[in-house]
């Protein structure tokens, strides 16, 4: 079981929050997560019940676990924290600057999950690195993380 965190730019992005909520509910039902948190830069109305704590991104310093980010801005911010966070960057959700992405990827603490096959190929083309999985609509991303963390521990 893991502590799962999501870092979004805008809490009122209903589509993203709905997708996150669905995954949290599924993972909780299957007893795969201890706790779920959503961190945001900009606050806004959330129109659906979400089974997670919501915090301003300035509180990430207090988080320990696996943090899922969707943009390079969020990735930069997450990288600036030195606490025990495994970062999972979801590629394909937001446009990125290639050099900016490459500068972030020069870090062993980041794993990449692709939105779809096209994003996975594009990510490989520009970074020469492989995404660990494809999770359409982030469905099943908890399982991807659990497997990856397990492999990582086994390798160490």
């Amino acid at each position: 079981m893991i502590n799962l965190g999501f870092y979004v730019d805008d809490l009122s992005d209903q589509e993203t929050i709905h997708m996150i909520s669905k995954e949290i509910n599924r993972a909780k039902l299957e007893n795969k997560i201890i706790d779920a948190s959503i961190f945001y830069n900009d606050i806004g109305p959330v129109n659906i019940p979400v089974n997670a704590g919501m915090f301003n991104s300035t509180d990430i310093w207090n988080f320990e676990g696996s943090l899922i980010v969707f943009s390079l801005t969020a990735l930069h911010k997450a990288l600036s924290y030195v606490n025990k966070i495994s970062i999972y960057y979801c590629v394909g959700w937001k446009d990125f600057d290639v050099l900016d992405l490459l500068s972030c990827m020069d870090n062993d603490n980041i794993s990449v999950v692709a939105k779809d096959e096209e994003s996975k190929k594009h990510f490989f083309r520009v970074t020469n690195k492989r995404a660990i999985a494809i999770n359409k609509d982030i469905a099943g991303i908890t399982d991807t993380i659990l497997e990856h963390e397990h492999e990582r521990t086994a390798n160490h």
Binding site: L99, D106, T127, N128
Partner: protein, 279 residues
């Protein structure tokens, strides 16, 4: 001898910057300024140059006014990218105003040696070898494709970037930066391929200098044999840099050293100095 150089660098070349550095290394007093931003009168009064190097496209009224009242200063005018008609207008203007011109400077070898009584000195583009800021991060990508227009299709089965120095392609290729800025990322690639290379430019020479395997792929240019001849002439030996050739060169250590020794900004500065009597 004192040189005052207008910084007419653009996305493709940094000639004024490397000439300035080289002149200083040779022991001359040389300074650089931006004619579009700084006052020509202040710059010339303070620096008191013997020679002002400026690009034809950036000649200003202030510079002409200053030169008209100065008996000492002589001009070197870079005429790259100046059309034949504009060049005739420029020389007529310079002649009409009795502006002292040492010579006109270009890297375009198709231009004549003399226009309207003005000597044209031709120097090839050069590799800018001066210190640049290194990237603060590392990466490795197999190929880089350098383009000046959007490729119809790119079909490498490996990791690759599409690079360009053309400002028009900003946001349309993976990395769009000036030639001088691209230098910091060149060693991150195994191979750099210039698509439809029309002439040897600064970036091409800098790529070779970096030691990375550098090729051209002139699939849209019919006379691709011309590029082979140009390269052989420049290096004085048979070198196959055609990406589509089976026998293309794989070892770039020798050609890289040759470029550093013969085609750097320092070499071009020496060529310029050699054309100035008494320098």
């Amino acid at each position: 001898m004192k040189f005052l150089i207008d910084n007419y660098s653009d996305h493709q070349q940094s000639q004024p910057l490397y000439l300035n550095q080289a002149f200083q290394k040779m022991g001359y007093t040389s300074g650089i300024f931006d004619i579009t931003k700084a006052s020509v009168f202040d710059a010339c009064d303070t620096f008191d140059p013997d020679i002002v190097l400026v690009s034809a496209a950036r000649m200003s009224h202030d510079l002409v006014a200053y030169l008209l009242q100065s008996a000492k200063i002589e001009l070197i005018v870079n005429i790259d990218n100046v059309s034949e008609d504009n060049l005739k207008q420029l020389t007529a203007f310079l002649k009409g105003n009795n502006i002292k011109v040492k010579f006109l400077l270009t890297s375009d070898y198709s231009k004549p040696n003399n226009v309207d009584g003005f000597r044209i000195v031709k120097i090839m583009q050069a590799a800018d070898m001066n210190q640049i800021t290194e990237l603060h991060f590392d990466y490795h990508v197999e190929k880089a494709l350098v383009v000046d227009k959007l490729p119809l299709r790119v079909g490498f089965p490996c990791s690759f970037h599409v690079l360009s120095t053309s400002p028009e392609l900003n946001g349309k290729v993976d990395i769009n930066m000036s030639s001088i800025a691209l230098r910091s990322i060149l060693p991150k690639y195994d191979e750099i391929i210039f698509e439809n290379l029309h002439s040897i430019n600064q970036l091409f020479l800098n790529c070779i200098c970096s030691g990375v395997k550098t090729y051209y792929s002139n699939t849209e240019i019919k006379k691709d044999n011309d590029m082979k001849n140009i390269i052989n002439k420049i290096y004085g030996k048979e070198i196959d840099l055609d990406y589509n050739s089976k026998d293309r060169s794989r070892d770039f250590s020798e050609i890289s050293e040759m470029t550093k020794n013969k085609h750097s900004g320092f070499n071009r500065a020496k060529s310029v100095i050699s054309q100035i009597k008494g320098a």
